[in-house]
Amino acid sequence: MGTLLRQIIKNCEHLSRLSISNNLLKPGNSPLLALIATKRYSNVPTPYEVVDIKAEEKSNKEVINQVNQLVKDNNISRLFAVVHVTGKQFKITEGDVIVIEGYWPPTVGDKILLDKVLLAGSTDFTLIGRPIVQKGLVRVEATVIEKTLSHTKTHFRKKRRKQYMRINFFRIQQTYLRINKVCINGEVNNPPEVRGLETAIF
């Protein structure tokens, strides 16, 4: 069975994954297939598959080039990005305000770059990071606009008939971040030679 199949594969060049399964299901394409598709042998497609690396690279390049062209022509609509800030993920776009809770050092007026971009997309394409997209490719600028405390929250515990009652009050630190800009800098899949300096300030 194995040798037979290998022969078939040899016979037909540049077989895609789909076409091999289709071929197996449709006997008659090759005289050898008729031999396999009998009562004795299974018609189930083989677990292994033929991968044409060149064709894959070509299709990959096509997609990447299309995205690059869109970026180059400035033909992209409003971008959204998913950023990771203080252990939380935010889906943001230009002009958004996000609230970061808890202790976070940046002060009012600080302009910062949100580096950990997990995902960025527009109407025509999505860049998916594993786990983050190429550093410096998606530039997310933000400004700290306000640092305040939340409203007073009451922490009240009580047990009936047990003379147990506790009351505490607390407020949470909040930082308001305005997203100034979400844009793509440079080319997809073409990182600069010197890396790691995208966000460095000299």
């Binding site: 299709s59 939380k88 889906k91 999505t126 990071g129 929250k153 009451t154 515990r157």
Partner: protein
């Protein structure tokens, strides 16, 4: 202390009973019937409300997590991939998007969510995870090599 009314000035002289009760009545201002007027009934209800508020903060987080999961599952159903397989497939591809983000994408970015399900499905097919078969293979959008760790 500055009092804007004479009534409050008069109150400030005696025992603090009025002020003690007023704190509670303020919290019960929106209650209906005797709950807002009779102190002994008010205090009972205010205490109960405060306990609920404290517990509710935790419950709200759990509820939101459930809601996110429901939304993702709805999206998964649309694209014919089980929820568990989607999460597992994405994790194996090092795509670490959390449930909150996934649900937002499922709601507002259908194409992005479709792309993520495609990635997860490809990975599930390659790794032999349950819930996906070759029948719902996609048209060679994602290639095997690009999903392997470099």
């Amino acid at each position: 202390m500055v009092f804007t009314t004479v009534v409050n000035f008069v109150r400030s002289r005696g025992p603090d009973e009025f002020w003690r009760k007023r704190k509670i009545f303020k919290l019960a201002a929106h209650y209906i019937g005797r709950r807002r007027n009779c102190y002994s009934i008010t205090i009972r209800n205010v205490h109960r409300a405060l306990v609920y508020a404290t517990k509710g903060r935790k419950l709200r987080k759990e509820d939101m997590a459930n809601l996110w999961e429901t939304r993702i599952k709805a999206g998964c159903e649309q694209h014919d991939i089980p929820y568990e397989t989607l999460r597992e497939g994405l994790t194996r591809c090092d795509i670490l998007v959390n449930r909150k983000t996934l649900s937002e994408l499922a709601c507002w970015e259908p194409y992005t969510f479709k792309a993520l399900t495609d990635v997860a499905r490809r990975r599930a097919l390659d790794d032999g995870l349950k819930g996906v078969t070759n029948e719902n293979d996609i048209d060679r959008i994602i290639t095997r090599g690009s999903l392997n760790k470099a």
